[in-house]
Amino acid sequence: MTAVEKTSPLPVRPRRGRTGGGLGPLLLRRLRDGVITLVLVVAIIFILAHVVGDPALVYAPIDATDEEIERIARNFGLDRPFHERFGSYFADVFTGDFGESMWQQRPALQAVGEALPDTVQLTLVGIVGAAVFGIIGGILAGSRPGSLFDRGSNFLSVTALSVPNFWLGLLLIVVFAVQFGIFPTSGRIGPSSIVLPALTIAIVHGGRIFQLVRSATVEEMSKPYVRVARSKGFPHRRVLWGHVLRNTGLTTATIAGWEYVRLWGGAVFAIEYVFAWPGIGTLTINAAHRQDFFVLQAAVIIAGAFVIVANLIVDLLYRVIDNRIKAS
């Protein structure tokens, strides 16, 4: 019966009360959620590393004897009870002690910290490019469904997001670096080094932003207010960039934000590896090849924390742009 009460089809007004309606309480609530999420992430990694796998085996050299492995286990305190290990692990992680990288001979956190700005820079440049491609193209295409521009750009975007990102990177290297020699093949030599990896991101993720903005626009164009605006004699351009853009803005912002978070879910790391961009992806994959568990773990947690913050910002933007959404 309560379900009926809750789902009453009456117009929904922003509810105040227990949840609060302002941005301040919302920020606090989302921060709390973020911290809980981060704790979950760390717990999952602990479980992966200490329950599913045996860390002593990971730290030990490949040819280690059983006694050596046991000694390593004692050194790391792996013979202590589970809850003690869990507690000290959390204490270490949240005081910034991620262990020493065996490969780089320095704290793992330092290695990851050095790589983080490069990844952030690349992802931001890439996603801005993707948003520009996607939003302008999506609104233009969606405003005239079935037109030549719509069909052409539509097909291009579907193709763009069907292509493996790392393969697209290799293709761009072959064409622009090897064949024409316009941009460096890989590494980070000068400002032009960012062009190809960022372009790869912009093409792949721009394709998806385009698709979603386009369908949001198509849906929006069929709504009565567009007809009303048109019948009032507003020019097409004004209806498009005034009314429709504002009303799809919420969707668009969420899409771009979600896309940015998604980028951190994988694409950027493979692309970094292809272009030898000195970010977290390249670091992590090299660490994996060297079985450097501490760097791997630090990279996952730091990148995870970063994504949580990014999520939080996207969510706040979402509320700011459309405060009609009730804070739930």
């Binding site: 379900a3 009926v4 809750k6 789902t7 089809p9 959620d33 809980i36 999420t37 992430v41 999952i44 990694i45 992966l48 590393a49 599913v52 796998g53 990971v58 005239r144 469904p145 079935g146 069909r151 579907v158 193709t159 997001l161 069907s162 292509v163 493996p164 990102n165 790392f166 393969w167 290799l170 293709l171 072959v174 090897v178 009565p224 007809r227 048109r230 019948s231 978070v261 879910g265 994988g266 694409a267 790391f269 493979a270 590896y273 977290i280 992590t284 994959i285 994996a288 090849h289 079985q291 568990f293 791997l296 773990q297 990279a299 996952v300 990148a303 995870g304 994504v307 949580i308 999520n311």
Partner: protein, 300 residues
């Protein structure tokens, strides 16, 4: 007043009618033709996956060092190699045919698992709201906040790379998307009068979810499912490319791209052709899903 509103609405739709009809016809023709071509391509790929030995012209494990790194459309003593040969002289086309099975197998199984988890949790979250909603969505968020490539690398260096681990890791990539979409749909659907009516007439909650909510989200799920098979395929290719996914002697298209990478400047076809095949497959899945979307839209 109400009469006025209806009137405006009618005249507006009358004005729009011819334009919409033309547009619809154009897009139907374009999509209709494309759809058949891509569906046929997918059918061919499925045939490759089911009976690779029938389609592969040569043994994909047979070395022929004298005929290594032959370009596309060249001939050897064995016959023609329209996709060229690799650094050991193995026919690339045969390898691509052999790679279809594992590529499709991993993608479909992993996506099915992810869909099942995502749809169930999304419906529960959307329908019940409150605690379950927050718990499930935060789990999804935690999942999304874990850069899955890095987690996969972490997992695989702990457990050793294998197809089984891949099939466990890949669904975690897709379930939050299904959960989000289904939750949003469920939130809308549960405000509908027919849900209210169902609850009022004494429908049990599983019945409401299974009979009234689920059928209404199925079109969205179907569209998403086909798209996500492609995404999972791309993810598997990425992981295999980075050396933490499928391991030789198994073959997937992603692994073929990885194998060709060191020879990129010498033998471009080893990297480019498997990538083209993978791209067209994912493109076909995307086109097909848009076709479903149109049908779903027409039905609604």
């Amino acid at each position: 007043m109400p009469v006025n509103v209806v009137d405006t609405d009618r005249s507006a739709s009358r004005l729009r009618a011819p334009l919409t009809a033309v547009n619809r016809r154009l897009s139907t023709i374009a999509a209709g033709r494309a759809w058949w071509g891509f569906a046929a391509f997918l059918a061919l790929m499925a045939a490759w996956a089911i009976a690779p030995d029938f389609f592969a012209p040569y043994d994909a494990e047979r070395l022929d060092p004298r005929n290594r790194l032959l370009g596309p459309f060249s001939d050897s003593t064995l016959g023609s190699h329209w996709a060229g040969t690799d650094s050991l002289g193995i026919d690339l086309f045969s390898q691509m045919v052999q790679g279809a099975r594992l590529t499709f197998y991993i993608a479909i199984v992993a996506t099915l698992l992810g869909t099942g988890i995502g749809v169930t949790l999304g419906m529960l979250a959307g329908y019940f709201g409150g605690f379950w909603d927050r718990l499930i969505m935060r789990l999804g968020e935690a999942q999304t906040a874990m850069p899955m490539f890095l987690v996969a690398i972490l997992l695989l260096s702990l457990l050793g790379p294998s197809v089984t681990i891949l099939i466990i890791v890949l669904p975690t990539l897709v379930w939050p998307i299904f959960a989000r979409v289904v939750r949003a749909e469920t939130l809308q659907i549960k405000q509908a009068t027919y849900i209210e009516a169902a609850v009022a007439t004494g429908c049990s909650t599983p019945a409401v979810l299974g009979r009234h909510v689920l059928p209404n989200v199925v079109p969205r799920i179907l569209v998403l499912f086909v798209v996500e098979i492609g995404h999972v395929m791309l993810a598997e290719a990425g992981l295999s490319f980075l050396g933490v996914g499928v391991q030789p002697p198994d073959i997937t298209w992603g692994l073929l791209i990885a194998d060709g990478r060191p020879l990129l400047t010498v033998a471009w076809w080893l990297t480019i052709l498997p990538g083209v095949l993978l791209s067209i497959t994912v493109l076909s899945l995307n086109i097909l899903s848009r076709r479903f979307e149109q049908y779903a839209g027409a039905a609604a």
